[in-house]
């Protein structure tokens, strides 16, 4: 045949010069950034107008601005620490949740073989110790899976506010004279909470790694643990970065709830300024700007990465702008 007609060939993802897609995406990105920037600009303008009109006390903002840095740092430390701790703890949970069902699912052959005498005899090349190990592993795995699932469902089904109080009373009951008691309670509560969510993210990540690659690894002769280390883990990491970043953002927002147990984070300081010092509007502005400044860039980064890592054929979101870029570049169909 030797035909060079490109429309016969499955059009590869980069059929359009990539710079064209990127430039349109960046343009759209800039447009939205422009919109947000414009909105912020109007807000700042409004602030000054209201300030001069006497509704807002700009002087208050000016004087108390500095008080926010410390608490902001506390929030950050809390978030990062609990996130990392949570990640470490959630990994085994995620692994158990991802692989236990498969281990327990007996294949049709195993079921048939299990019934007959021949099946129960040792297979060629199989050491009896392997068999025994398998049974012990299964015996340990079942309760582990149950506990993991129970824990994750409990965390995901209840509000952090309630979890926080339970941890609070638990720890203050056992170690009432711990230094930095409230901070530690907050840290523990955050960690326990994020473990629940991260475990689910990790499970989904492990299970989403293409079965085809795992089959290929098996065909080469790799065994379970090797496959996990060399195929699942690296691929899974890529799949998991996005949801974990979102989880980080959520965690940072959750630290605001810790103000109820007197942890000196951002929301606590804001309440200080807004409540007792009776300047809620100014306090809100300051704290909103802080949260906004920290979280907005992160979520924009997330959106940008999302845009770039489309997988064609899986019901992908095709941006209006992207489709327009395709049309403009002359690619029809």
């Amino acid at each position: 045949m030797g035909t060079q007609d490109a429309s016969r060939v499955k059009v590869p993802r980069r059929a359009i010069p990539s710079w064209r897609i990127v430039s349109s995406a960046v343009k759209a990105h800039n447009l939205s950034a422009l919109a947000v920037g414009g909105f912020l600009g109007t807000c700042i303008l409004l602030t000054f107008l209201l300030g001069t009109a006497g509704v807002l006390e700009l002087g208050f903002i000016y004087t108390n601005w500095g008080t926010l840095w410390g608490p902001a740092w506390t929030s950050l430390v809390l978030t990062v620490t609990s996130f990392l701790l949570g990640l470490a703890l959630a990994t085994p949970l995620g692994v158990v949740r991802a692989y236990a069902p498969a281990i327990f699912r007996r294949t049709r052959e195993e079921k048939k073989a299990g019934a007959s005498r021949a099946g129960r005899r040792r297979a060629v090349g199989e050491r009896s110790s392997r068999r025994a190990r398998g049974t012990i592993r299964k015996a340990l795995l079942a309760p582990a899976y149950g506990l993991a699932t129970g824990y994750i469902e409990a965390i995901r089904g209840t509000p952090f506010y309630v979890q926080m109080w339970i941890v609070f009373y638990l720890i203050s009951l056992i170690w009432p004279r711990l230094p930095n008691l409230f901070f530690i309670i907050g840290l523990v509560a955050l960690t326990l909470s994020t473990v629940g969510y991260q475990a689910e993210v990790l499970r989904a990540g492990f299970q989403s790694v293409g079965q085809g690659q795992i089959d290929a690894a098996k065909a080469v002769g790799m065994r379970g643990r090797q496959i996990f280390a060399h195929v699942t883990l690296p691929q899974g990491l890529r799949l998991v970065v996005l949801p974990l970043t979102n989880e980080w953002i959520g965690l940072f927002k959750t630290t605001s709830i810790l103000n109820f147990i007197s942890v000196q984070e951002l929301m606590f300081q804001a309440q200080e300024l807004g409540g007792p010092q009776a300047h809620p509007i100014e306090a809100f502005l300051m704290v909103a700007v802080m949260y906004f400044a920290i979280l907005m860039p992160l979520s924009r980064v997330v959106t940008y990465i999302e845009r770039k890592k489309r997988i064609p054929g899986l019901g992908t979101p095709m941006d209006v702008t992207r489709a327009a870029a395709r049309r403009r570049a002359g690619v029809t169909v």
Binding site: V162, W165, Y169, S256, F292, M296, G315
Partner: protein
């Protein structure tokens, strides 16, 4: 048109598995109650607070019933706006989403409530703006949830292959008709799991309304705690565990219901679009 029978025949294995699960749950509950009567924890106290907590639960349900629909209406509008061709609509949508997503819900609730209180007291000379402030706080929560729902709706709409939109136009359907007959039915199916998750989040976030005086379950819990502290910390635990169970019950009901709806509208042969 005759409705195809959607009732699947459940295999004996599934039925047995479900029966065992239900029996295990009932058994666990029975064990806990028995332990209570044996003195592991103060079961009479546990029973006594149920009424107070249920009163709070009613308020929680009312709050949820307000936040979810309002959030959906707002979220759908802005989410849809982000998929249109007009850059004005898109920019507005993006601004709304980025603003409300970057703020912790607690901050939004507390401060919207405080600000309104202040404004009402200073400029409209309202004596006790509590009710309105509470309403505003709940509204703020709705707007916050709306921003997440907007993203979900947007992703759903964009996941419908553009070829189908083209085919619909080629048949002669107007933009509106294409939207309602082709895009939205499919977008809805794709978004269901994510929306269900968001509804569960809303249920949990209503706990924050206690901060502005909303008399929902967590508030009832805190109030009880203030009394129970004198008794013993065991009682405090009983309170919070019961509160947690109530929330768990709510979120489970929502999740299960959404899954049922998903199954009812599932298109044979098609799995939900990945992620």
């Amino acid at each position: 048109m005759s409705k195809r029978s959607k009732r699947k025949v459940l295999s004996t294995r599934t039925l047995v598995r479900r029966a065992v699960g239900a029996a295990a749950a009932a058994g666990a509950f029975a064990v806990v109650v028995w332990l209570g009567y044996r003195g592991l924890f103060d079961i009479t106290y546990a029973q006594s607070i149920v009424d107070d907590l249920l009163d709070g639960l009613v308020v929680t349900l009312i709050a949820v019933a307000v936040v979810i629909p309002v959030g959906f209406v707002v979220g759908f509008s802005f989410g849809w706006a982000r998929t249109t061709r007009s850059w004005v609509l898109r920019a507005t949508g993006t601004t709304y989403v980025e603003f409300f997503r970057s703020m912790p819900p607690l901050v939004l609730i507390v401060f919207s409530s405080l600000v309104i209180s202040l404004l009402l007291r200073t400029y409209l000379y309202v004596e006790d703006p509590f009710a309105i402030a509470l309403g505003v706080g709940i509204l703020a929560l709705a707007l916050h949830s709306g921003s997440y729902q907007a993203e979900i709706v947007r992703a759903g709409i964009l996941s419908v292959p553009t070829g189908q939109v083209e085919a619909a136009e080629a048949l002669g359907l107007t933009r509106m008709q294409t939207m309602f007959r082709v895009t939205l039915p499919q977008a809805f199916r794709v978004s269901l799991p994510a929306l269900g998750n968001e509804f569960a989040v809303v249920i949990k976030d209503t706990s924050l309304i206690s901060a502005i005086g909303g008399l929902e379950v967590s508030f009832a819990g805190s109030a009880l705690v203030r009394g129970a502290i004198e008794l013993s910390l065991n009682h405090v635990f009983i309170i919070w565990v019961e509160v947690a169970l109530l929330y768990f019950l709510l979120t489970t009901i929502v999740t299960v219901t959404v899954r049922k709806v998903e199954n009812r509208y599932k298109v044979p042969g098609l799995e939900a679009a990945a992620l």
